[in-house]
């Protein structure tokens, strides 16, 4: 049994595998498959100041080795989250990462302030959701706005702050450096790539929102590249995600520079994916005589 623990911004994770925001609700559903305490952590569904209905259905489309989604931040609002969901989450003996979103800087600040009085372990600032009209992704695509919102939230929270980056940009490493400079304790990437499908029988976009976010195995090579670029550009830890479905994928992303990985879309086909990934990483380390998973972080030998 190798040492699977990793440390991100002072927070200890028993292992580096975390279900990704938006694919795991608030943990209740997958908690009916396995004890949540097995997980390294949980990133909750993106939560906003007020409750939101999200976009109209259809909200999902299948693509080659991937999916598009356009949920659009449906959530009960931060107050109800803190009242109803957080207490249950805090009982699960795993790291709770609260993913927050908003349409204005003020909204992000308000949400972060409300979380400051809770026991939640970390905040993940979603400045990269492609499925909301105002705000959301807009903050994530320029260095200035990404830096601005990071600085603003940094002022109101002492909790470790992860900034989640959008892949729909020319220079993701530049944005990572900008948020690092403003006090982000870690970055997570990648959120979804903007995509579209059209049903040629009806001539209509499959998603009612026309476009949606691409995730799943299809995006994995883009995730590896971006994690590698960002890990080479910043000193803070990188949490990698995008198409991770197996232990080998997780190891590859960690070699590229990720300290931990998130797993999303893969759970729709295999609800046990996070558990199998944890077991698989352990097996790999044992087989290769590596005593700690931390040894593989950023270990890629680039040409």
């Amino acid at each position: 049994m190798a040492d699977l623990s990793v440390n991100i911004a002072g927070v200890e994770f028993k292992n580096p595998v975390i279900p990704a925001s938006g694919t795991f609700g608030y943990g209740r559903e997958y908690g009916r498959f396995y004890p949540l305490s097995k997980l390294g952590g949980i990133a909750t569904k993106g939560t906003t100041l007020e409750s939101r209905l999200g976009n109209l259905a259809p909200r999902i489309a299948e693509t080659p080795s991937g999916i598009l989604n356009s949920v659009g931040l449906q959530n009960p609002g931060i107050d109800k989250f803190i009242r109803v969901e957080l207490p249950n989450l805090m009982k699960q003996e795993t790291v709770i990462i609260v993913n927050i979103a908003g349409s204005t800087v003020e909204e992000y600040i308000e949400v972060a302030k409300k979380l400051e009085e809770t026991d939640a372990h970390m905040i993940e600032l979603n400045i990269s959701c492609p499925n909301v009209k105002e705000g959301g992704v807009a903050f994530g695509v320029s260095c200035d706005s990404a830096a601005g919102i990071t600085a603003a939230v940094r002022k109101v929270t002492k909790k470790p702050l992860i900034v989640k980056l959008s892949p729909n940009v020319t220079d993701i490493a530049g944005i990572a450096k900008a948020v690092e400079a403003e006090g982000a304790d870690a970055v997570s990437l990648i959120n979804t790539l903007l995509g579209m499908r059209i049903d040629i029988r009806t001539g209509r976009p499959v998603l009612r929102n026309n476009v949606g976010g691409l995730s799943g195995k299809a995006v994995f090579p883009v995730a590896v590249r971006m994690v590698w670029q960002v890990a080479n550009a910043v000193k803070i830890p990188v949490i990698g995600m995008g198409g991770v479905a197996t232990a080998n994928d997780a190891i590859e992303l960690m070699m590229a520079g990720a300290t931990a990985v998130q797993v999303g879309t893969a759970m729709f086909a295999n609800p046990f994916a996070p558990i199998e990934i944890i077991d698989g990483i352990n097996e790999y380390l044992d087989k290769n005589g590596i005593s700690s998973v931390r040894e593989i972080i950023g270990s890629v030998k680039s040409w």
Partner: protein
């Protein structure tokens, strides 16, 4: 309740109509707890997403489930390649709310449209002679399950759009006739949305309880990803309910059509 996901043995496969297959799967744990109106979430090998398919028969004693599906796209085509003896990857039973059974109901009408017919069969099994099973299909080559409904003792009425078999026209024609003949306690329906809407309106006009099983594209199937939303009214508020967890069966009054 815990969810179950795994590979289960296919005991039987029958082609029952053009591109429509009838499977029986051995899964005692699931058969013991599955309820009418729930569904199974099937993984076509290599695909990113599972396919939701209604449960068509539950045999707790034999430990089997039965479901019937039509090949529509690539995923169902892949599933249809599986044969008796093969294993199928199934997450089941799913669906937070199946049909609400009123044991005391004296007369129920089951309305199934096309590939929405299969989930009506467990209801026919429960209500037997108290049930009228109205099924509508596009044409005779797509007709399924009529003998099964008869076997359960249900009054079995068949419609086809083109009149190639049974009554020519929509299910609403015999539905209205049956309501006029004797008002039922409940109408259960599953099928294309326009059909469900028409049935719901007729139920409303006649002040009859109506339970509809809805379809929506799904991700997780268990309530975690929030993709399978449908507009509904609850406690006077418009909400985005989730078909997999808040349904797939809804009281027709809750649905915003």
């Amino acid at each position: 309740m815990r969810y179950t996901q795994g590979e289960y043995r296919i005991l039987n496969k029958t082609a029952i109509a053009k591109q429509i297959y009838d499977y029986t799967v051995l899964c005692p744990d699931i058969a013991r707890i599955a309820q009418p109106g729930q569904f199974v979430h099937l993984l076509p090998k290599g695909f990113p997403l599972r396919r939701p398919i209604s449960i068509c028969d539950i045999d707790a004693e034999k430990g089997t489930l039965r479901f019937v599906f039509e090949v529509r796209g690539e995923g169902t085509a892949e599933l249809a390649r599986l044969n008796a003896g093969d294993m199928i990857d199934m997450l089941a039973p799913v669906g937070g709310r199946g049909f609400k059974i009123n044991e005391n109901a004296k007369r129920v009408i089951l309305v199934g449209g096309g590939i929405g017919t299969p989930p009506m069969l467990p209801l026919a099994k429960i209500y037997g002679e108290r049930a009228v099973a109205i099924s509508g299909f596009r044409c005779s080559s797509m007709v399924i399950l009529q003998d099964d409904f008869k076997e359960m003792g249900a009054k079995t009425i068949l419609c086809t759009n083109d009149g190639s078999m049974g009554i020519k026209g929509f299910v609403t024609i015999p539905l209205i006739e049956e309501i006029e003949a004797e008002k039922p306690d409940i109408i259960f329906a599953c099928g294309p949305r326009p059909m469900l809407k028409a049935v719901a309106e007729i139920a409303m006009e006649n002040d009859i309880e109506c339970q509809v099983s809805l379809e929506e594209r799904m991700g997780c199937g268990v309530g975690a990803c929030l993709v399978c939303s449908c507009k509904a009214i609850r406690n006077g508020q418009e909400i985005h309910a989730h078909v997999c967890q808040d349904g797939p069966v809804f009281n027709a009054k809750e649905v915003i059509w």
